[in-house]
Amino acid sequence: MQQDMPSLLTRFLRHPGQRLRLDRRAALLLAALLLALICLARPAALLPRPQHDWFFVVDITQSMNVRDYGEEQAAISRLAESKYTLRQTLRALPCGARVALGLFTERSTTPITRPLEVCAHFGALDETINGIDWRMAWAADSFITHGLFSAIEQTARNGAGFHLAFFTDGHQAPPSNVDYLPKFSGKPGAVNGIIVGVGSRQPGRIPKLDEQDNITGYWELDDVMRFATFGVSRKTMSVQDMENYHGRNAPHGGNPAEQADAHLSALNEGALAQLADTTGLGYMTLTKSSEVVSRLTSHRMANWRRAITDLRPVFALPALLLLLAFYLPPAFFTRINKRARSSLRVLRPHFKPRRIT
């Protein structure tokens, strides 16, 4: 009995000339190994797949300096939180995604870069977003509606299928006359995207910052415009109001209804949601940046484009299944076969799977 050579390996080692005959389960493993090795070669192909094309627009008006994110002591401004979210998104976007950047103040959105591929130009994009600063604002006013419509217009100029992500707190300064807001002329939904509401619902004071971003004071009620001065008032004026009324210089009367909290800024969710509704954009509030990142990187927000696609999962998934098949007891397959064929085979679960010869 000394010549028994039970395992294939020892048999092969002793008689290398003999063909190494693999049983079925060894073949499963070998196939899985080959597939895994193929994955190591990083197979990739140019295939159509969902790709993100984003036009990120950030509101850089002063209300975005309100620090209402994070802890009391180390509070983070709305702008900083938006930037952080954008940078996280940049990291989460798969290669092949294109990103254009724009800034919003006053009435318009200004593109600052045309679309760049995220991976190849990651450094530049990341640093540019990091460099966004409220001092880049060329005017202090903030007409959200104008800015958004302008952003929608700009989005299409970046290329077909570009999506817009508009980060704003919805703070309108000075207050605008509802009657003179522009009407949305585009087709709702023609430009897809999302308005991201930044800030908390609790009104916060708008800080005045020095060169080092230290808070030197806050905007007080006296500093800001508390009512719309433009256009004709719709309000039926009392006689008292009429006293100081002047058709051109004071069309809202001498003492028009003031906004008592015009110097405070809160996230204006209602107005933003309404804007989103009229323009066919989505709306979400930035409470946790990871939520926004996952929304911005979701497949729903993607276009189908041909891009370099990682084919490794195509090989890895069968490898995984082959491995599972390797571990599945043979009885599992016999049971399936049995259902298919007649009951030719007598099934004896867990007894005598192999005979000792």
């Binding site: 294939l8 389960r25 593109p111 990651f122 450094g123 999962p313 491995l323 000792i356």
Partner: protein, 328 residues
């Protein structure tokens, strides 16, 4: 900001399958009358754990790898040669005016369009240099950081086709341009390439601040001047008492007093660009090392390596498994 993420997290749903090798029983085995008769053998037990563990490792490694794990927040060191050029591009409203230079197309193009074509040519040819871009009107905007990524600078340049607005705050633009040199080692020529029509007045305080800044960063100033139809040439000395009508001339004379190398080019003809390029090319530089934030890095490879190794060991184990109790 180092973080870990998955590009296809739903693939992680496959992860529980890794439990199957640990749980499934009934793999081919020899019938044996009674296990009570067999001694407890540590090595054998260890082998059994290894056999099952390897399967769990391979399956979970594959599942995790397929989910596309990546890490972010890394930065890599890059080396740049050539000059460090910060392009400071004017995008004020005045840049929308017609350009005075001859254009082959014959149509009336804005100064902005002219500046774009000039800069595009410039960026295209400055292969060795580090480039960055700042645009400015009333306030400056950092469009592309100083790096070897000229595509980013071009993208920023193309974004200027939205047209200009606001005033020409040359000083702020230059200041931001100079700022981007701050904190980086001086390894050679630093150039601020101002592309503007220069319609701005600088007060005395600003002039001093700018001069100090130029000296501190030891940057040279090259000005590609875009003249509009009613603007004068820089070389043309305006009449006495009429200097205020020609702010560009005043700027030119101020720049000459900066005390750093200064050159002005009038972008009327393509030669001006070539001349500017030639001047820049002459600036020899030490190689400079700088760090660039890396895009997310795919770490799935390690998963596949681990899976392949596990399967390889598993295959060897399988080949050493006894298939026949005895061969007689």
């Amino acid at each position: 900001m180092g973080a870990f993420g998955f590009s296809q997290p739903w693939m992680l749903l496959l992860l529980p399958l890794a439990l199957l090798p640990l749980l499934l029983r009934g793999q081919p085995a020899f019938a044996y009358p009674s296990l009570q008769r067999l001694p407890v053998d540590g090595l054998s037990r260890w082998l059994e754990h290894a056999w099952r563990g390897l399967g769990a490792i391979a399956i979970s490694a594959l599942a995790v790898a397929m989910a596309g794990p990546y890490i972010t927040g890394k930065s890599t060191e890059q080396v740049g040669h050539g000059a460090h050029i910060m392009v400071v591009l004017d995008r004020s409203a005045s840049m929308n005016d017609d350009f005075a230079g001859q254009r082959s197309e014959g149509d009336k193009a804005s100064k902005m369009a002219a500046a774009r074509s000039v800069l595009e040519r410039f960026i295209d040819r400055s292969r060795q240099d580090l480039l960055g871009m700042v645009t400015f009107n009333t306030s400056p905007i950092m469009v592309a950081p100083l790096s070897g990524d000229r595509e980013a600078a071009l993208a920023g340049l193309r974004a200027t086709d939205a047209g200009g607005v606001g005033f020409t705050a040359v000083a702020k633009g230059l200041a931001m341009g100079l700022d981007s040199f701050r904190g980086k080692p001086v390894t050679g020529a630093r150039v601020i390439l101002l592309v503007s029509d220069g319609g701005a007045h600088l007060d005395g305080k600003t002039r001093d601040l700018l001069r100090a800044s130029f000296h501190r960063q030891s940057a040279a100033l090259y000005w590609i001047y875009l003249r509009d139809s009613n603007g004068g040439s820089l070389e043309q000395v305006p009449e006495e008492g009429n200097e205020d009508a020609y702010p560009e001339y005043q700027l030119h004379t101020y720049f000459k007093t900066l005390g750093v190398p200064y050159r002005a080019y009038e972008a009327e003809n393509p030669q001006a660009v070539s001349a500017a390029l030639a001047d820049v090319a002459r600036l020899k530089n030490l190689p400079v090392h700088y760090r660039v934030a890396e895009p997310r890095r795919d770490v799935a490879h390690y998963g596949y390596v681990l899976a392949a190794l596990a399967v390889l060991v598993l295959l060897l184990l399988h080949l050493s498994e006894v298939k026949q109790w005895r061969t007689t």
